[in-house]
Symmetry: C3
Subunit: 465 residues, 3 copies
């Protein structure tokens, strides 16, 4: 099941090697330890002045970092294993493009977030930010899942990470937007970028591999591993880079309640919209997470658990309705083939989160936040802007993000159309055996109905003769 | 495989929506951020007086909270996926009732633990407590697994959370009982409540679906994911809400050694009690965890690693013997159909843990605990009671818990018998397709023996036509 | 599928019980809480002198400990589930020998690391060290996977833990070697010990069970769970017991970049060395981790992200080449049957890591490390040795480790050959049903091709008649 155009023998190794060597060179030239990571900087001056080791930011960010890391590699990776014959690619390409993106994001974000005498300083916070940017790429991956080669994905990551960093720079640095959990910068950007890419890569004959674009019983259980890790650690995601103290604490808690409420509305809507009242694993796996997306901007604000629950409740409803009614329309009318339904999980809930953030920001006041206003809205606390102006900035940021994502996706989509990248044919989409050694794919359970020869191991291990 | 009585089309959405809307309203009226979570309270008074951000309780509890969270959603959820055709329901209903219970528990526990000017104050500690209460509900879920509709489960959670909070209030607040890891409040309560519920819901003709009440090869591997996460994070569970410093450190370590010893005795007993010496996955998945349950009360005390190992060693032996010899007796003589064997994992080890706690408490002394006595036994350290009195209180608390659980389970069992809740028939127990979209369940591996048509995807994704 | 020699009915229970009882007795005699865990020691002297509860080492090490714990039980356990009929044994024996080894390692390491008035003092740091030692045993387990009984494995653990502690003592205490992440003490030692054991246990007729020594589609997905957890948490592993502050922060970050670079070179090499350019799950599951192994010694040094990436890049290349070309040679020429290819994942990358560590140490200087030199190279900072002398010590340590591992493995291999341990026959290797209740193994998916009777649950649960 390989033809010359999709054969990765040279394309993939060359791409990986060149990208990695470029990364190594750029790291050698540009990157340095920050003051919490460097042996010398950490101990400069006299000892009494330096902060004690136990105040190293490692201890206040690293547990959150690891939770985010699990979301990126296990969460996104396994969430996409629902496809019956595409598990290796889902978790394996997720692994590859994430490992690339986090390195590239370190450089791009470091470049835009400000150089220190020409150098990028890195530590646990840059590691979290790199994982965030990677998350955005993985969201876009969800839209094109099953229809793209690993080389296409790597090039998509190259461009998307760059654009992500530009958009993030415009929002956070220039506009002073607040978006700790990335409703806009991560979810809205990743979703609409990916949707535009998949629109450009539209395949009119995709129904030739439609029978593979579905789950089997156990692939849905694997996908639930991804869902649950995303759900559980979303509070860590949204709070990972907020200010220390009450904002971090509050963000985690708001997200937790938003997700809980979202779960109940997802189950309700999934059952309600099915003619026989049966729950749909697609909804449970995806829509139950929309509450985390929708709390990404306002999570650090004084949204209150009450407000968080309303947001999550609405996000679950919107998301299930999207899967049920909007996705078929997008596919049939707008020619947007969105494999994982990222529009329902990241797109609409991301926009909802941005709007909630704008409204909540415009209501901020010294009465509610007290001295804590400085941590969440430094510009407002400093008297440089009013709360309603901040709300307006938040709304403009959503528009900027949508524009960047759609325009970027348009350009990148056309680049990825170049035949050199070895996209699979319409008949071989959603199929691991195109890229992976799966000696006798017929032997695994989803093919169990075919009666085949008695000894059919899919692969003899460690004896490649 | 749906008939009108078990059709969830209206029952489930209405139940979820009403419960969630009630929760949102009550949160709006009653719940506020605590002082570590609120922007204003955290910064009241002059700055020099407030505690620094890095002393926010978030940094001392949140990693433990996330470990507990993983136990609740992945641990309990996947532990129950051992059933061959009930994986969606195991992990999916676990998800649903946990997401509901943690919200409801926040209210119930907040109400009983003390209002602040009519308001419930919440933060990371209340989040852990809510997960604890949820754990108790999930234990009971294990007893009725496969035999109850999601609506029954949600109503069970409504009542059980309430009773849990009452029992916890009596023990911790009124009696001054020590039970950091919940041998009594969580495990004993959840187990005997669930056993009574399943007794009342006794199905004389359950053997009609007996062929589905078993595992297949890969469902046992999925279940091991649950087992291992429960096993690894149990030290975090037992230590999550102890006092800071040495008690938290000690509790985690005691639990770790109890579990390790329990694992060896579980393997020994599993092999010893099988006529051909073969290990039974049921024992490994469950009994190896009994050491964590049994260290739930005494874990924070000066039990010593030596004592912890003895406790764990005994817990493993008791638990395997329970699975082997007691469960059939309970089922045949007492009509208690305990799907997951919670009596062996949570019931008996919970009682053992309570007894160990009572004995250890009665031996507490200033000689052993030094100044640390105040953190573990404030009443004894303050001279208000003697150590042996404390031990007596611990023993009485076990009796109270058993009484509350059995009486509560009795009442709730009869409520759940009402036909309106849509319980499955005897022939459709342990069957996902009653509640979930599983288009052609025959195609997954546990049905591989049936030769069926060539293209049988269980579900076409994102194209619900 | 049981004969008298491999029947574990008496051997396994007796072994487990005797070992566990010995452990309990020795813990009773020798082990005490350390000052961060003990109620009294933690509060001795007047209150103002004792360190505050929030500086308890628990808060600075426990999150790392839990990450390491997940690697040991889920990481190693699931990584080995790739075998189609050996999943229960992979994850189950991993669980058993890890639970034993961590207890035994506490004693052995405590004994060599220094007694306090005849007692071993334990806390979170000893828990991490015990898990590290356990990791070494699990590496060796990978070499003999599928070919050894659980009793053999337990005895292997008894001896290997002891030798590990001796080797670690020689290196860390006597030679003053730096090896925070254990490139030498854990990986090199575990790998060459295991390789020598499997050499001695050479089975000329192992091809009789060759058809079982391979993966199926879903066993490879289970194995990816193990891979990803190892990959994600390796930064925590390497940094778990470094000094607080910048060394811990730096080690985690160096490891993170080493792993990321390693992943790209692994994908490149896997595709390049396949004649059709297809990726091999064996490489992705294993070689992508080599970057963590290779950063085990130099990770805490000022290796820089640039240096870390080069190391990881090389480790990935070496590891894939090993799987592709060296493993068949080892098997056919040197009679080393290495089931999991530990030579490629732990052996060669471990040696690489040791060499990188020696070179990096020999380049250490006050200019680069500043005051931080004391934390990483106390002997050099104190003027007791030069940096190049330290580099020489590191190199010698590698030689000592290799010698200890090979000699130890030789002796232990011959001990394990004794027929009393009940090794499986050549025809029953890689087969769960020898040790586990798997009533009808034909019913699970890897046997789907055989048409069998309609109702064939692998096991009726809780009704052992």
């Amino acid at each position: 099941m390989t033809d010359s155009s999709t054969n990765m023998r040279l394309k993939l190794p060359i791409t990986c090697f060149i990208l990695q060597i470029i990364l190594i060179i750029l790291f050698g030239v540009l990157v340095q330890y920050d003051e919490d990571t460097d042996a010398k900087k950490h101990h400069h001056g006299n000892h009494s002045k330096t902060k004690p080791d136990i105040e190293n930011d490692f201890y206040y960010r690293y547990p959150s970092f690891q939770d985010v890391h699990v979301m990126i590699f296990v969460g996104f990776g396994f969430l996409m294993t629902f496809l019956q014959r595409y598990g290796f690619s889902s978790v394996g390409f997720n692994f590859l493009i994430a490992a690339f993106s986090l390195q590239w994001a370190t450089l791009m974000q470091g470049f835009f977030h400000g150089l220190h005498e020409g150098k990028i300083h890195i530590g646990v916070e840059s590691m979290i930010n790199a994982d965030f940017c990677t998350g955005s790429v993985l969201i876009s991956f969800g839209a094109v899942l099953g229809k793209t080669s690993p080389v296409q994905l790597l090039f998509m990551a190259v461009f998307e990470v760059t654009l992500f960093a530009v958009n993030e720079y415009i929002l956070l640095t220039h506009l002073g937007t607040r978006d700790a959990g990335g409703s806009m910068t991560i979810h809205t950007f990743g979703a609409y970028f990916g949707l535009m890419v998949t629109r450009i890569l539209y395949r009119p004959n995709l129904d030739k591999s439609k029978h593979k674009n579905c789950s089997v019983y156990h692939s849905d259980l694997f996908a639930m591993i991804g869902t649950l890790y995303l759900w559980m650690f979303w509070p860590s995601f949204n709070s990972a880079i907020t200010e220390h103290g009450d904002p971090q604490h509050r963000t985690a808690m708001n997200t937790y309640y938003s997700l809980a409420a979202c779960t109940l509305s997802t189950y309700a809507m999934s059952s309600l919209t099915a003619h026989d009242g049966k729950l749909d694993m697609v909804h449970i796996q995806n829509a139950a997470l929309a509450g985390g997306v929708a709390a990404g901007t306002a999570g650090e604000m004084m949204l209150t658990p009450f407000g968080s629950m309303i947001v999550g409740f609405l996000a679950g409803i919107i998301s299930v309705l999207g899967y049920k009614y909007l996705t078929p329309i997008l596919e049939n009318k707008l020619k947007i083939q969105d494999t994982c339904g990222i529009h329902n999980l990241h797109g609409m809930p991301g926009v909802l989160g941005a709007i909630v953030g704008a409204v909540t920001a415009s209501l901020a006041s010294k009465e509610v936040y007290g001295e804590g206003l400085e941590k969440v809205f430094p510009e407002v606390a400093g008297g440089h802007r009013t709360a309603s102006y901040q709300g307006g900035v938040q709304a403009i940021s959503l528009a900027v993000t949508l524009g960047m994502a759609l325009f970027g996706g348009l350009i990148v989509g056309f680049i990825l159309k170049l035949p050199i990248f070895g996209a699979p044919r319409d008949t071989t989409c959603f199929e691991d055996s195109l890229y992976w050694e799966v000696r006798k794919p017929q032997s695994h359970f989803s093919y169990a109905e075919k009666k085949i020869g008695a000894s059919s191991p899919s692969k003899i291990r460690r004896n490649p003769d």
